[in-house]
């Protein structure tokens, strides 16, 4: 079931859905096609008029000045009308394309807000961004350009053929006979180009990965004076890319000259047959020949475009399927309409037989039970990968438990609104995330209504104030993406300030001070202690100062709580905790 045969190109369901998307713009689309039709017909009609005019200028004796003037006026009118049609068509096409891009991006972004974290955790950011930006662009571009090019192209060819047949079936036959050659040439080149392009993009990807690595870790390259070796390695790959890019570029640029050549043959053929007919007397005029020639001049041009359209549409559909796949990802189950809004949270938290795993093959947490009373501090210790952070994911309901239940104020998390649950927790994570905004905006994220005094008080309590005031613009300093040039420790201080300002009834501190040195940590201990006073807190930490004073210590190993109790009882037990604790004196 997994991969329906993709080789056959068109995934019908994707195509149908793309058409439905396009269908939303059917009014614009209808008018766009209408204007396209108008512009094609008028474009084809103008040479007819020109030819007629030429037939009125045969020689001195045979010039119909009034007739020429009348036709000239008609040409002018047609040109104006045609230009108008073209402009309206272009504007409408742009409108449709941009509206689709706009809407798809909006939908995708909204979707991202409703996707479970499990999706976001398991997909690279770059991949998702690329779906939202590149794929959406290519989808709409390819679709609409492909569509309108195909339509106008086909219409032009058809119209030209009809006019030629009407003008003179015999000469038209010359044109029709050469047509398949043109198609064949275009198709042959397109096919050849495709495989060359594939090789090129594979090599490009290889080079991008290399650039990503060397430029991304430029500082290490410098430190080891590895510039020359890096350059040599780069040069080798670069040369290779140059070679296959040359072939791909050259082959892809062959289409135009080749079809133009075929076109020129058609032109010569028409000139020959037409001229002979003129001489033969009667069935052809010079004006008629001029008309024929100007059609022959443009006839094969649409073939290039149409041959490109298929590849473009295929690409657009491939992009569409990637975008739709994202849009179709299962969403979070929405809060039930009658979900409880947690308010007046005191801090009762109860875990009852909780089981959880990210993948079915590997259990992470099994049968975890725990009862926490308001104001208690719960410290979670244990080796890496034992499930400490997972527990926090469950408490915040970033993930739902597989079995058992978690209750806050005797309300199952799944029966409470996510917003009210998350509002009850303040969270500081090891992974510091700041947005590209001012320091002030970052601190006040949870409480945009906070006063200046409250903000300053929080920043002073977290000892972030002293470094903030040294920033170029103090609290109004604009931080770059991901916190810009701040050090890890400074970023963490800002995250702590953020929570200190919000002061929710419960706290989650996941290695909240991992990047802060111990002395600074000691300084903010008091503020931390004050913050935790009367608040139920879950603390993941590796420092005993924090752990020793906890009311409950959960010692986790391999997804299970293997020991539980306060510091003294656990030490007395001489179990895993005691080993952990004593290991520091061994050196």
């Amino acid at each position: 079931m997994k991969a329906p045969k993709k080789k056959l190109g068109f995934d019908k369901r994707t195509a149908a859905r793309v058409l439905r998307e396009l269908g939303r713009h059917r009014v614009s689309l209808f008018f766009s096609l209408l204007f396209a039709l108008g512009s094609v017909l008028l474009t084809l009609y103008i040479p007819l008029l020109t030819g007629d005019a030429i037939d009125l200028i045969i020689d001195r004796a045979l010039v119909d000045l009034d007739g020429v003037l009348a036709i000239a006026l008609q040409i002018g009118a047609c040109a104006l009308l045609c230009a108008l049609c073209q402009w309206l068509m272009n504007v409408l096409n742009n409108r449709i394309t941009y509206a689709m891009v706009h809407k798809l991006r909006r939908q995708t972004f909204e979707k991202l807000q409703r996707l479970p974290l499990s999706y976001l955790d398991s997909h690279a950011v770059g991949d998702t961004v690329s779906r939202m930006m590149n794929d959406v662009d290519q989808l709409t571009d390819g679709l609409l350009l492909g569509f309108s090019q195909f339509f106008t192209g086909a219409l032009t060819i058809l119209g030209t053929l009809v006019i030629m047949l009407l003008l003179h079936p015999g000469v038209a036959l010359v044109v029709i006979l050469v047509t398949p050659l043109s198609l064949f040439v275009a198709a042959f080149i397109a096919k050849r180009t495709y495989s060359l392009f594939r090789l090129q993009s594979a090599t490009r990807a290889e080079q991008t990965a290399m650039i990503d690595e060397y430029v991304g870790q430029h500082k290490t390259v410098l430190a080891f004076g590895h510039e020359d070796e890096a350059q040599a390695e780069f040069d080798e790959l670069n040369e290779r890319l140059g070679k296959c890019a040359l072939r791909a570029t050259f082959f892809s640029s062959l289409t135009n000259p080749c079809t133009r050549f075929v076109n020129n043959l058609v032109y010569a053929g028409v000139a020959l047959v037409g001229a002979l007919l003129c001489i033969g007397g009667g069935s052809m005029t010079v004006g008629g020949l001029s008309k024929f020639l100007s059609y022959a001049n443009q006839y094969t041009k649409p073939f290039n475009e149409i041959s490109g359209v298929l590849a473009e549409l295929q690409n657009a559909l491939a992009c569409a399927s990637r975008v739709f796949a994202l849009l179709d990802e299962p969403e979070l189950t929405p809060d039930a309409p009658d979900a409880t809004v947690l308010s007046a949270v005191e801090g009762h938290v109860e875990l009852d037989g909780v089981a959880f795993s990210y993948t079915p093959e590997q259990d992470l947490i099994r049968d975890l039970s725990l009862k926490v009373s308001p104001g208690q501090r719960v410290a979670i210790v244990g080796p890496t990968g034992c499930g400490k952070t997972t527990l926090i994911n469950l408490l915040m309901r970033f993930y739902d438990v597989n079995d058992g239940s978690i209750r806050v104020e005797s309300c199952d998390l799944r029966d409470a609104t996510r917003a009210s649950l998350r509002a009850s927790f303040g969270m500081v994570l090891q992974d510091t995330w700041l947005r590209a905004a001012t320091v002030r905006e970052n601190i006040c994220m949870a409480r945009p209504d906070a006063t200046e005094e409250e903000m300053l008080a929080a920043a002073k309590a977290s000892h972030a104030h002293s470094f903030i005031k040294r920033l170029p613009n103090g609290y109004d300093t604009l931080l770059g993406e991901g916190g810009g040039s701040l050090s890890q420790g400074q970023k963490q201080l800002l995250c702590i300030t953020r929570v200190m300002l919000a002061l929710p009834p419960m706290l989650i501190l996941d290695e909240a001070t991992s990047s802060i040195d111990t002395r600074m940590e000691l300084k903010i201990q008091n503020a931390f202690a004050r913050m935790m006073q009367g608040r139920t807190s879950f603390i993941v930490a590796h420092r005993l100062s924090t752990i020793e004073s906890a009311d409950v210590i959960l010692v986790m190993k391999d997804g299970k709580v293997i020991e539980q109790g306060d510091h003294r009882t656990l030490l007395a037990k001489k179990g895993f905790y005691a080993t952990l604790y004593n290991s520091q004196f061994e050196s």
Partner: protein, 577 residues
């Protein structure tokens, strides 16, 4: 901008041949209406069938020659464009390699990567199209003018009128739209940045229930992008229709004046046909031009972004062939009254640092977050230059060395463990290309990495994936330590590089570092007093200033900051699990 043109210089032949053959092709295209005129005025008028046949064969000949010219032109254009971008990428990479830390900090690696990849590709297609089409179009247009003069000089005024008008239309649309395109691009960058930020901050944003606000934020950027696109779209959509109107105006003028002139006897029917044909050719060319203008526009914007990188001066100047000190100086490293301030920062990160270290000595550096520990270390290999004072390595100012000479004498273990795709061996050889397997194993053993490398399939040849993602944090860190040890440099700097190691490994590592061959001077940066307590000399930093120098015991007695740090940790630290 002009700087980029120099990358076309090695392809001077190609950049001349390609448009030249395009020109030839264009000339044959332009001759076609003349031949048709002859067919009409001579062949048909005289009912001369062999003449018509001959002329049509001439047309076929033109087509063949045109094809050949065109193929040559396409080939050389592709060569020039691809060669151009290959060279450009090479130099960009080389230029970026020479960036100092300050430069990389300022520009940002993410954007450097985009510029080296996407932007260069964009410029490549721009060059290719320019050589092939952009030059062809003016040639055809001017050629049509020349041919019109040849066909009937009296009617050339029509071309002289229409062509400048077309030029005005095309240039004003381009001038108007190019800056707008740049606006579109920056709006798009904002949309991308917001998406990226939203994804990386998903946990925090959800914890703070910011989903709706995020949607609004994104919506505004998305709307702005949409508005801008439509604005540009409306303007560039004018190009083809206006061209069409102008060219047909030309056709009307030709017909009108043609009719009068033929009536007066100064012109033939064939002349009129030829002239209208030339007008039609102009139209076809300009439509092609309009389609390429968009690509060339984008290429120009990319070219700007690339030259910004190439123009970024290499701030750090070092002598190509520096002086080398006489060996045997006992004072391996010394700082004399060194101060340092980062670009864009109002406060100095280091001020008035003075200390020195002898061969074989271990210097510990300790201090709070942001106290300047790493900054101090970064001054030694000249990743940054001090604002004041001087740093001496083996008795010589670091600025007197050539950069390779200087950095050869220093081995660093960076704070963030960075490895490169390849094998364990290829990564270790970064330390010293000439190291033998024996030396590699010895370094691994000292770095406490021997066991896990031995367990890996392939040992030294075990693969390392990009950024060392297939290794654990602790393994990565130990390999970066081994890499530095392989170098056997007189100065070894460990920048807080045992943070991912457990207590026992850290202790074993410290023990192994005490007996290094060639007794290097070791600079040990740490946040833990336990890591540096055995150092011969400890520097205590606080807000960029040195508040204490001495041994562990001395500092405990005299330095309050040190005592505070020590007490915050002593007996109060469980190994990082």
């Amino acid at each position: 901008m002009k700087k980029l043109l120099k990358y076309l210089r090695p392809y001077r032949k190609e950049t001349v041949i390609s448009p030249l053959f395009k020109l030839l092709e264009a000339i044959f295209d332009l001759l076609v209406p003349l031949v048709v005129k002859r067919i009409i005025d001579v062949g048909i008028a005289n009912a001369d069938k062999p003449y018509v046949l001959f002329m049509c064969l001439v047309l076929v000949g033109f087509a063949l020659v045109g094809l050949a010219c065109s193929l040559v032109a396409q080939y050389y254009a592709a060569r020039a464009a691809v060669g151009f971008s290959t060279h450009l990428r090479r130099d960009l990479f080389a230029h970026i390699q020479r960036f100092s830390y300050t430069d990389t900090d300022r520009i940002g690696t993410a954007t450097l990567i985009t510029r080296m990849t996407a932007d260069v590709n964009q410029v490549q297609s721009g060059v290719n199209l320019t050589l092939r089409l952009l030059l062809r179009s003016p040639i055809i247009v001017l050629g049509a003018l020349v041919m019109a003069l040849a066909v009937h000089p009296g009617s050339a005024w029509i071309f002289l009128l229409i062509i400048p008008l077309l030029a005005v239309v095309i240039f004003s649309i381009m001038l108007k739209s190019i800056p707008l395109y740049r606006g579109v691009q920056s709006n798009l960058d904002r949309v991308t940045a917001l998406t990226r930020e939203n994804l990386t901050g998903a946990r925090v944003l959800r914890a703070f229930r910011k989903e709706d606000e995020e949607i609004t934020r994104f919506g505004e950027a998305n709307d702005a992008h949409n508005r801008m696109q439509n604005r540009v779209g409306r303007i560039s959509a004018l190009m083809n229709p206006l061209t069409l109107v102008l060219v047909n105006l030309g056709v009307i003028l030709i017909l009108q004046s043609g009719a009068h002139r033929v009536y007066e006897g100064g012109m033939t029917q064939g002349d009129v046909v030829a002239l209208t044909n030339y007008m039609a050719q102009i139209l076809v060319e300009l439509i092609k031009l309009a389609n390429t203008v968009f690509t060339v526009n984008k290429a120009l914007a990319s070219a700007h972004r690339i030259s910004d990188v190439l123009d970024a001066p290499i701030r750090m100047s070092a002598p190509e062939k520096g002086e080398t000190p006489e060996d045997g100086s006992d004072e391996v490293l010394s700082f004399r009254n060194v101060s340092m301030r980062y670009a864009g920062s109002s406060e100095p990160s280091l001020s008035g640092i003075t200390f020195s270290a002898r061969r074989g000595e271990t210097v510990g550096i300790i201090g709070s977050t942001g106290s300047g520990k790493s900054t101090l270390a970064n001054l030694i290999p000249r990743f940054y230059d001090p604002a004041e004072g001087e740093v001496l390595v083996l008795g010589q100012d670091v600025r007197a060395y050539s950069l390779p000479d200087l950095r050869d004498r220093i081995a660093i273990v960076p704070q963030k463990a960075t490895l490169f795709s390849g094998t364990v061996r290829s990564n270790l050889l970064w330390g010293n290309q000439k190291a033998t397997d024996e030396e590699l194993w010895e370094a691994l053993e000292r770095a406490q990495a021997k066991d896990f490398v031995e367990e890996k399939e392939g040992g030294l040849d075990a693969p390392v994936s990009q950024n060392g993602k297939n290794l654990s944090g602790g393994q990565r860190q130990r390999l970066t330590i081994a890499r530095a040890l392989v170098r056997r440099a007189p100065i070894l700097i460990l920048d807080d590089s045992s943070s991912a190691l457990d207590y026992a490994t850290d202790a074993a590592l410290r023990h192994a570092l005490r007996t290094l061959p060639k007794s290097p001077t070791v600079l040990l940066i740490s946040q833990r007093t336990s890591s540096i307590r055995h150092a011969d000399k400890i520097l205590v930093l606080e807000d960029g200033e040195c508040v204490g120098i001495g041994t562990h015991d001395e500092l405990l007695a005299t330095c309050e900051v040190y005592r505070e740090i020590h007490e915050s940790q002593y007996g109060r630290e469980v190994e990082k699990a």
